[in-house]
Symmetry: C2
Subunit: 127 residues, 2 copies
């Protein structure tokens, strides 16, 4: 099982690679059978093809992530962090979305599950 | 389904009632078949009796919770928040634990699942 520090480092790599529009780098952090639910309640993207499509869309939307406050671990295979996400779709005003993400990892430290907690009321025009 | 605002309000009540050592008030927020995992990985307290024993212990430890940063909702039945928790067991130094909690709710807005993300490395002597 990965340590909390290894899980937190993987989550920081996730943020850095997304911000660098490095789709292959992002996907390399996930298992082939990973699931992504972002936001929680909006349907689960399951498996490599669906996860690729989701992050391709996220990168196309110009998403810029920044971790807010300390990351948190667990005593098992999961960790969590709070984020501000700036989203700037072409031709639309920039929005800031406040998010809390939880991730679950396999033995090798790859992400098997990502869940992003945010709702419409957590989204506002960016300053 | 409760709104994100209703879920966030329930989570604030949870914090207020725990801080007031109001065990019955805390338990009234949960369903009879609720599960509590705190920290994630340390085993699930399942059902009214186990949840009561867990929160009786939390109150006995002198836990003092404060919400850190904005709470986050979802587009379904779940919400999340970051917390600092001061724990002062009798005769021991006060520790601060950094936590991210997720909760899931039933139709009536009662908590059916609480999961607290923190590991030993998220705990430090309080200032």
């Amino acid at each position: 099982m990965p340590s909390s520090e290894e899980m937190k480092a993987a989550m920081r790599s996730y943020v850095e690679r997304l911000n660098a529009a490095d789709l292959e780098g992002v996907l390399a952090l996930f298992t082939d059978d990973a699931t992504v639910e972002d936001p929680v309640g909006a349907g689960v993207h399951s498996g490599a093809e669906a996860v690729r499509a989701f992050y391709a869309m996220a990168i196309a939307s110009g998403a810029r992530l920044s971790i807010v406050g300390p990351q948190r671990g667990s005593t098992s295979d999961a960790a969590a962090m709070a984020l501000d996400v700036l989203v700037a779709p072409p031709g639309a005003p920039t929005m800031k979305v406040g998010v809390i993400e939880t991730m679950r990892f396999n033995e090798a430290g790859k992400i098997v599950e990502m869940r992003a907690y945010w709702g419409p009321e957590d989204m506002a025009p960016a300053d």
